[in-house]
């Protein structure tokens, strides 16, 4: 990061910012407590964005290009969302970069203890964690995996982007992680090789992800997955999800509500 930006961020450390937003022509901003707060720093230009991406990728854009074409790059525990002028050519898929969203991870130990108790009452059932983007789904999923795994449940984690199982995170003693592959291949690999009691995956969005869920259901393995959506009604507007809901794939949903800097978990029965 440019020294000026690091300096400007120093004083916001205590606010536990969730994201750094960098947009060409605008001052950088920190996202916390549900809104963006501009920093006392010079406006960002494309050169700065390129330097940050070079830092993140170790100046090896050719190696990160497949991920960047999807709009993000994960390095360690950071996830960098990318936006700009797209191009049909090879490479990153971007002719110019205009915005970056650097997601800053926080491990909130203890935040999901009560939620875990609620979800395991009467045995764990297929659960869907639901919140709008940036609402804390991945953090909640990671915490639940760790807690359930430390309770002795064999958990197969499909970590497509390497975001859940980055080095800094502890996923518990009974977690087996398959990363760098799509959800369907990951699920089949876990079912064949690790006999998981529960399969966990982040962001079930694309039709291929839904296909993976349909494949897992009925294999005698529970599911813990996340999806984008403000509420259950949101899900019903999406054909693929409506199909899953109508089939009764999920028995529980966890809705995440953000108030200020705090997150509240609401468990709903879908049966």
């Amino acid at each position: 990061m440019p020294a000026e930006l690091v300096q400007a961020m120093e004083r916001y450390k205590g606010f536990l910012p969730e994201e750094i937003r960098l947009r060409c022509g605008h001052r950088p901003a920190l996202f916390y407590a549900g809104e963006e707060h501009p920093l006392e720093a010079m406006p960002i230009n494309e050169e700065t964005l390129v330097r940050i991406l070079q830092r993140a990728t170790g100046a090896s854009l050719y190696q990160a290009s497949a991920a960047l074409r999807e709009g993000y790059y994960c390095t360690g525990s950071l996830r960098i969302g990318v936006c700009g002028q797209t191009t049909a050519g090879r490479g990153t898929g971007f002719a110019h970069f205009s915005s970056l969203a650097v997601r800053l991870p926080h491990e909130c130990r203890g935040a999901c203890d009560t939620l875990k108790k609620e979800l395991t009452r009467g045995g764990f059932r297929n659960t869907l964690i639901l919140s709008p983007p940036g609402g804390g789904k991945t953090t909640a999923l990671r915490n639940l995996i760790r807690l359930l795994s430390n309770d002795g449940m064999r958990i197969g984690v499909i970590d497509e982007r390497g975001e859940l199982s980055a080095d800094v995170y502890d996923l518990g003693r009974c977690s087996d992680v398959v990363s760098g592959t799509n959800k369907l291949s990951g699920a089949l690999l876990l079912l064949r090789s690790m006999a998981p009691q529960l399969i966990a995956a982040d962001e079930i969005t694309a039709p291929e992800d839904i296909a993976a869920i349909e494949e897992i259901v009925g294999c005698g393995t529970s599911l813990l997955v996340t999806a984008h959506g403000k509420n259950l009604a949101d899900l019903n507007t999406r054909d693929s999800y409506r199909r899953l809901m109508n089939r009764g794939v999920f028995q529980r949903a966890v809705l995440i509500h953000t108030r200020g800097n705090k997150r509240h978990y609401e468990v709903r029965s879908l049966v």
């Binding site: 830092r55 170790g58 100046a59 090896s60 050719y62 290009s65």
Partner: protein
């Protein structure tokens, strides 16, 4: 007797001077060939495994035996921590000019140009550029070798003659 000894010493010194000059050229050629070979390894790593640059530089730094080329990769590895503050092309340019002093100006320019190319997101043009620069370095090494072959006798002859002339002048 003293004059004889002086004359022999002068002749030996002038021949040794010519030998050092030729040795320097030989070392330079070896450095160029080492750099060429390391660039081809870099190309292979990028093409076959899409290995990140830092890992490539670490690998090359470990396997390289020629001190000057090793220093080049060492400085690159150390400089990778400044990415974000500095652009990769600037780091590459600075490292080339600091460490690859055995290159002629034309070769320096060619190797420097790789910095911008290596920032690219598509591995294919990167590999093409690396191959092209490696070819240039190979041609440069060949030219040095040919010149060396042609000039060995000439260098020894001239230095011997100069030594002899100096002795005559002194006597």
């Amino acid at each position: 007797m003293r004059k004889m000894l002086g004359a022999v010493l002068i002749l030996l010194a002038s021949v040794y001077g010519a030998y050092l000059l030729l040795l320097r050229q030989r070392e330079r050629r070896k450095d160029i060939l080492a750099l060429q070979s390391s660039l081809l390894i870099l190309k292979r790593e990028l093409k076959e495994r899409l290995t990140p640059l830092k890992e490539c530089f670490e690998l090359l730094q470990q396997r390289e035996k020629r001190e000057n080329v090793k220093a080049f990769y060492q400085q690159l590895v150390a400089g990778m921590t400044s990415l974000g503050v500095k652009r990769f092309s600037a780091l590459w340019h600075q490292t080339v000019t600091d460490t690859l002093t055995f290159l002629g100006s034309q070769q320096t320019e060619r190797v420097c140009s790789l910095g911008t190319v290596l920032e690219g997101a598509d591995a294919e043009p990167l590999c093409e550029a690396l191959e092209s620069v490696a070819l240039d370095l190979g041609a440069c090494a060949r030219t040095i070798e040919e010149k060396q072959r042609d000039n060995t006798r000439l260098a020894f002859g001239i230095s011997f003659s100069l030594g002899a002339l100096f002795i005559i002048m002194l006597i």
